[in-house]
Symmetry: C3
Subunit: 355 residues, 3 copies
C-alpha cells in the first residue's frame, strides 16, 4: 500500500513520541495520579512500591479464609481481562492469570497468534484494538521491542482505551518481574530495605531481570551491589553508568565465594544461551557461578537466595529445603504482587484490608 | 466398516431432512416459540431483531455499573458453555467468550481438534455429543458445510439436547455476524431502520457478510441497496434474484464516488483472496474500492462507515478518528448482540432491565 | 551436570519409596484420614466408593435448580485448580474442567508443554512445582509412567503441597475412569452391586480401563467376570492371578454371543491399535467383538451396555437409542463422580445435600 500523508502522520507521531526521554513519556501512561498502563520499572517509586507491597501483604492476609477469598473475588468481578501472550511464557502467564482470578476478573487468553486474524493481513495494531473491544484490561507479552508501549500509546488515543500491562517483551522491560523481585527482598528483609548488600550472579550481560532490579534499587538508600559473573557476561556499561550517575556503589568480581559471606541477598541467574550468536556460552565455565549445598554454610544466617526461575543447574536441588532459599516463595510473590498492582490500577486497592 | 441398514437410516434421515426447504426445517430448531438452535439468519424476523437489539441496549445500560454487571453475571451463573472452534477465528471466538462471561456462564474451549479423540477414530458426531455431555450450550465454528446444522439435528434427537449456536462455518451462514451488522445499523440510525440506502463495497461475490446482511434487510421497509464492486466480484445472481422476488430495489456500480453522497451506511469489505482459485485477485485494481480520508468530506454528515473487520487497506487508518467510522463500535456491538441472543435462548432476557 | 551426593539422595529416596509395595505407599498420599493425592484405584474401598457415589447423586439433585447450582458453585469458589494435561485427552480434560466449574473452582490450563519453560532446560519437577505455586490443586495427565506419583511425592515433601489428581498417565493407572465406570454400574444397578455378572469385551490385553475396573470389582461380593476377547488380546496374567488370589470367579471366552444373555453389564472396548508394535491389530478379525443392533434382543432387559469411549465401530450407532445403552450417561457420570471426588478431597462433601 502506498503510504498516504495521514498514515505517515500516525507513524511519525509515534516515532517522535517514542524518541523522547522516558521521563517525558510517563505522564502519557498515567491517569488521575495513578499508573494507567504499566510498562516500565521506572513507573515505580519508593512510596508506590511500599504501597503495592503492603497491599499484596494485606491481600494474602485477607484471602487466608474462604470468606476473605470470596470478598477478594468480588472486588473486580465486574471486570474482564485479556491475556495476550504471543511470546511463550507459561510461568508469567499463569502468575497473571491467577492474580486476575484472585480478584474475580474473568479472563480470555491468546497464547498463540497462528489462529488470529493476523494471517488475514490485519495490522498488529488493529488486532490488539479488536481484542481490547471485549475486555477492560490487556496483559501483553510480545516479541517485538516497543510493541507493548506502542499499543498503550495507540489505545490511549482512542475513545475506548483500556489499561495495558507489560508482561515482558523481547529484550524490553519486564516491570512486574522487577516488582516481584523487590517484593521478595521486602518480605525477606521485613520491610527494612536500606543499607543492603545484594549480589547478582551469573549471566548479567544478557539477563533482563538483573537490569530491571538494579534500576529499582535506586529507590532505596545505601545499597551496595555485587556483580558476580564470568568476564564474558559482565553487566552492561549502561547500567554501570546509571549506578555511577546516582552514586550507587558496586563491585564487579568473578569470585563468587568472596562475596557469599557479605551479601544480604544472592540473586542467581541462569546462562542465557538462547541469546548466543555463535555458541559463546559453550566457551564459558559456568560452574563457579553455581550455588551448591556446600555453600549454605558460607552465607549469612539471614541471607536469602533468589532466582527468577527457571533454573537449570545454577542451584542444587537440595538447597531448596534450606529456609534461606526463597525462590519458590519468590514465584508465589509474583502472583500476589501482580494482584496488588491490578487492584491498584483499577482503584480497588483501598478496599483490601487484612482479614 | 460395512454400513448396516440401521446406520444408513440415520444418514438418510439427515439427508432427506437437509434436502427440504429451510422454512420447513426451522421449526425443528425452535422450542416453546423461541429459537433453540441459532443456525440461520432466516431465524430472525423484524420483531425478534428489535427485541434482541433492545435487550442488548438494556444490557449495556445495566452493566454500566459494578452492581449491574454483577447482576448480569448472576443471570446464567448456573450454566456452562462450550466454545468449539475448530476453524480459526480469534475475533468471533473472543466476542462469544466475553458475551458468555458477561452473563456469568462458565466456559470450556476447544480451539483445535488435533488433541481430540478424533485422532482415535471417533466420528465427529460422537465427538460433539461427548463435548455436549458436560455443558448446557455449544457455540460452534466448523469448516465442514452443514456440520453445525447436522449437529443440532442429531442432538435434538437425543434425550439430552443442548442449544447449538452457529459461530460461522465454511461458506455457510454466519447468523450472528448478520445480527451484529444489523444491530450496528439500528444503533447508528437510532432505531429508524426503514427508508435507508445502504452501500456494500468491495468483493461482494465472495464475502459472506454482505450476503447475510442483504437477507436481513428484507425485514425493513423501502431499503435501497448499492452494490459497489469490481466487475469481477459482483454480487451473486441468487442474491439479486432474491431482491427482485421481494421487490427490493438495488443498483450495481463500479463507481464508488457516485454513491458516497447518497448512502446512509457504507459497508466496506476486504478482498477475499483466500478464496482465489488462480490468483484472480491480483488481476483486479482494488484501490477504487478503498475508503480514504479525503472521502470523509463526500459522505453525508450522518452516514456511517462499517466494516466486518479484519481490514487490510480498504479503510485508511486515519479515518478511524472520524465519529462516522463505526467499525470499532461494530465489533463491540457483536459482543452485546451475542449476549442478548444467548440470554434470549436461555429465557432470561426478561430479567434484563436498563440499570 | 555432575550428580552431587545431595541430588542423588533425592533421587534414591524416590526410587526406594517407589519400590515399596503400593499398600505401604498409600498413607503418604492421605491426610487426616482422607485421600489427599488421588493416584491409584486402590485408594477406593467399598465404603468410600459408596460415599462418593451418594455425594455425586446428591450433587446432581442439588444442581437441578439454579439456586442449587449457585450453592454448589459457592462451595469451592475460593479455590484455584490447574489442569496440567501434557498428554492429549480432550474428553477427560473437559470432564474435569467442568467438574471444577460446578464447584466454583477457578481453573488454569496447560494442554501443551511446547510453550513452557521445559524448553529452557528446567526439570519437569521444577515445572510442576512452579505451576503449583499459583493454585490449590493440580489435575495431571502426563505420558511418563510414575511421573504423577513422583510429583505428588515431591510436593508432599515441600512446605506448600497441593493435592494432585491423576488424570490418567501412560500405561499407569487412571483411577477416576475406574471410579466413573463403577459409578455407572452403581446407578444402573440402583446401588445393588453384589452378585453381578460383568462381561468385558474386546482388546483386554491393552485396555487400561478394564484392568482398573477389575481391581475395583473386588470391593463387591460374588462378582463374576467374563473376559470376551480375541485370543491375541486376552486379559493379562497379572489380573487373572489377582482374581485367583481373591477367589473371584472369571471365565475367558472368544464367544461373545454365549455370554450376552448372562451378563448384567457388558463393557465394550475398542481395539487399542495405537499400541501395536508391528501391525498386529490388522491380523485380528475384531467384528465378533462388536455389539450390533441385532444383539439387543439377546441381552437381558436390565442389562446395560457400557463403553469408555471413544468408540469406532464396536457399537452400532443405532444402539444408542436403546435405554440399555448407557455409555453416553457414563460420560456424564464421569463429570459428577469427579466433582464428588474433588469435593471430598477439599472436605466440602458434607455440605452437599440433595436439593
Amino acid at each position: 500500500m502506498k503510504r498516504t500523508p495521514e498514515m505517515t502522520s500516525v507513524s511519525s507521531d509515534w516515532e517522535s513520541f517514542h524518541a523522547t526521554d522516558i521521563s517525558e513519556r510517563l505522564p502519557f501512561f498515567a491517569k488521575d495520579g495513578r499508573i494507567y498502563d504499566c510498562l516500565f520499572a521506572q513507573q515505580f517509586d519508593r512510596a508506590l512500591l511500599t504501597h503495592l507491597f503492603e497491599t499484596a501483604d494485606a491481600l494474602r492476609g485477607l484471602t487466608a479464609t474462604k470468606e476473605g477469598m470470596d470478598y477478594a473475588g468480588s472486588l473486580l468481578s465486574h471486570a474482564r481481562a485479556m491475556l495476550y501472550f504471543v511470546q511463550p511464557s507459561t510461568r508469567t502467564f499463569l502468575s497473571f492469570l491467577n492474580a486476575c482470578h484472585i480478584l474475580g476478573i474473568r479472563t480470555s487468553e491468546i497464547r498463540d497468534t497462528s489462529t488470529s486474524s493476523e494471517v488475514k493481513g490485519e495490522s498488529p495494531e488493529d488486532t490488539v484494538r479488536t481484542f481490547s473491544s471485549y475486555v477492560d484490561m490487556i496483559i501483553m507479552r510480545h516479541p517485538t521491542p516497543g510493541f507493548v508501549e506502542k499499543t498503550a500509546w495507540l489505545m490511549n488515543r482512542t475513545n475506548r482505551p483500556v489499561p495495558i500491562i507489560n508482561g515482558g517483551s523481547g529484550k524490553d522491560q519486564h516491570p512486574t518481574q522487577a516488582l516481584l523481585d523487590t517484593y521478595t527482598l521486602y518480605r525477606s528483609f521485613k520491610g527494612n530495605m536500606d543499607n543492603r548488600k545484594i549480589a547478582m550472579v551469573g549471566d548479567l550481560k544478557r539477563g533482563r531481570t538483573v537490569r530491571s532490579l538494579t534500576y529499582l534499587m535506586r529507590n532505596y538508600r545505601n545499597i551496595t551491589l555485587y556483580f558476580v559473573s564470568p568476564k564474558q557476561f559482565r553487566m552492561e556499561p549502561d547500567i554501570l553508568d546509571f549506578l555511577k550517575r546516582h552514586d550507587m556503589p558496586f563491585i564487579e568480581t568473578e569470585d563468587f565465594r568472596s562475596v557469599m559471606g557479605e551479601a544480604d541477598a544472592i540473586y542467581m541467574t541462569r546462562i542465557q544461551d538462547e541469546h548466543d550468536k555463535a555458541g559463546e556460552s559453550r566457551a564459558v565455565d559456568y560452574s563457579p557461578f553455581h550455588f551448591r549445598a556446600e555453600h549454605l554454610k558460607l552465607i549469612g544466617k539471614n541471607c536469602v537466595i533468589m532466582h527468577p526461575l527457571p533454573r537449570r543447574h545454577e542451584i542444587e536441588v537440595t538447597v531448596d529445603d534450606d529456609p534461606r532459599a526463597v525462590f519458590w516463595r519468590q514465584e508465589r510473590n509474583g502472583m500476589w504482587a501482580r494482584a496488588a498492582l491490578i487492584s491498584y490500577i483499577f482503584g480497588v486497592d483501598g478496599k483490601i484490608r487484612k482479614g
